[in-house]
Symmetry: C2
Subunit: 344 residues, 2 copies
């Protein structure tokens, strides 16, 4: 379909408006990041520069920077520095991915060798630390002390979420409440901070800050649930990674929790045995998936993600809009809905 | 010797004044750190809390916090928050030690199992990240945006120094200039930042900031040279680690560089062959040490460390002293001299 044809076909992308509206923002983030790296890595070791570029320019969707930009715009501020501030969230995100891939011993990310697989553990630890420091520097410099507080607390919370997740490995008695606490800490708080700091950057009032932070928290949790669903149902060609990693690692995610909650005692026991047995067996994974299907674990989890997105959208709808912020808030709503459809 | 005896014995500790003057400052840092952790780790996973405490309360000398405190006092400010700000430098220091021990696959530190050896790689990476984030938060919050800039740049520089060091592994053509560039980035800049931020916290004028930063840079480099000497000459019972690690890892440090620079072509070739050969052999290490001795590599490196300390002390002597800052600046001079004598 060419760009000039009418877009009333049923195959038309319902998010075409979102894509075209955000493309230029993402391009500005990329340019800001490249300029910042050129400056910050000037006179640095060539390998450090290579690793940082390798990790950052890897087909990432730049969702976090986009959230900062749209939240700032929604509260009335849009200037050049905003795109570099937004880039800082991508730095932190990539820093955590690099360190996560060490922890998970992951070889592939987005269909490409991970930093640890390509450059080894020393480069991976150090490049993650460099990006972490650079992200803090940019947030403190461009968005001020209150924003740095929010950012550092979200980072500390993320680490705590990872520890709590470790504690629940292969724990068949893990509760939904514990799952939601973990994803809020691992993902929700950091996404909320990208939104809150966008609002703070724009000088938003407390009600706007709170609304955008709440929006971020809800979509962050939805995002994590979709991630957990893709770990079962994703297409490897699209996600760039195998399915079943979470099960192999003993992570008890929402589809499984819902299935455990609704299964007959016999099937619950079967699932528990699978979780506590040899999780590297392909047949164990397949048996588990069949049981999750049987008790609608996937559709229940998808429903929960949709509910969270609906709450996020409602939060935006009821907040006070800056006179120039209408389109940005509209795009935030579309973005929330779009996150549900992602396949990678 | 009891405390009441006169201290004119030749065995008397020439640093007794330093020790007694700093003991209460160090105790206040410990108390500030404990209170901060209690607050920051409230409601956190017990394992995260355990790992952070294990890493932080490990017999560390608290040199970095002490520098911040003395530099701030020297510029006229001494209040409760100073001790927590000072603690932030210990957080960052410990974060880097935890990550370094992953990179070096180290089992022991100060005679105790390292975090990675005791808790595994996941806990080690994450606890390092937590302490890193917390240190940035505290510096930004308590010393402001300019201090955070200095701090983040020093952290980025440290990472770059590690990359440059990697590049020089087993490189027999490494120059003294490259060595000094690496230790300035790895150690000097961060120690300089602890001093500069102490000065900034006290509202020091640019001349004072510059003097204290220069002091920190010099003693940081001297500190690293002493570290490199201890890696050859340290007493395992005191340092808590084996000698010869640097050689085994292919790190070309100053005693070796000086020996290479002064050796006959034949002995230089022998040392180069040892560096590029099987460095795990005990006999290779012993042959190398004998050659370094032969060409005064150790005494030359120790001389350089003394020169750096003298420069640091001169810098302090010529700076403008705050009316209440005399004793602190005197202690900074003693501390510089003390660093040369350390055995661990």
């Amino acid at each position: 379909m060419s760009a000039t044809e009418p877009s009333n076909s049923v195959q038309a992308d319902p998010f075409a408006e979102l894509h075209s509206a955000v493309a230029s923002a993402v391009a500005r983030v990329e340019a800001a990041i490249r300029a910042d790296l050129e400056h910050a890595l000037d006179q640095c070791d060539p390998l450090l520069s290579e690793v940082v570029h390798y990790a950052l320019f890897n087909g990432g969707k730049r969702i976090r920077p986009l959230l900062t930009i749209l939240c700032s715009r929604g509260c009335g501020r849009d200037d050049d520095n905003l795109y570099l501030l937004a880039g800082a969230f991508e730095y932190l995100h990539v820093a955590t991915l690099i360190h996560d891939d060490i922890i998970d011993r992951a070889d592939q990310r987005r269909g490409k060798a991970t930093v640890i697989a390509h450059y080894g553990i020393t480069a991976a630890i150090l490049a993650g630390d460099w990006l972490h420091a650079r992200s803090m520097y940019l947030v403190g410099k461009m968005a001020g002390s209150d924003s740095l507080d929010v950012f550092c607390h979200a980072t500390q919370s993320m680490v705590n979420g990872e520890f709590e997740q470790l504690r629940q490995i292969a724990n068949v008695h893990a509760s939904e409440q514990q799952y939601f606490k973990i994803i809020r800490q691992k993902t929700g708080n950091l996404i909320a901070s990208t939104c809150a700091i966008g609002a703070l950057y724009a000088g938003a009032d407390p009600q706007q800050q709170h609304a955008l932070s709440t929006y971020g928290s809800h979509i962050g949790e939805a995002f994590q649930i979709v991630d957990d669903l893709l770990d079962f149902q994703g297409n490897t060609a699209q996600t760039g990674k195998q399915v079943g990693n979470d099960f192999a690692e003993g992570k008890i995610t929402l589809p499984l929790l819902y299935a455990l909650a609704h299964a007959t005692p016999e099937d619950k026991q079967i699932m528990e045995d699978l979780i506590q047995g040899d999780r590297t067996q392909r047949s164990a994974y397949q048996d588990l998936v069949a049981n999750i299907e049987r008790y609608d674990g996937f559709s229940r989890a998808a429903h929960t993600a949709r509910q969270l997105v609906s709450q996020a959208i409602e939060t935006i709808k009821t907040m006070t809009v800056h006179e120039n912020g209408g389109q940005a808030l509209h795009l935030l709503q579309m973005l929330a809905a779009y996150l549900l459809t992602r396949k990678k």
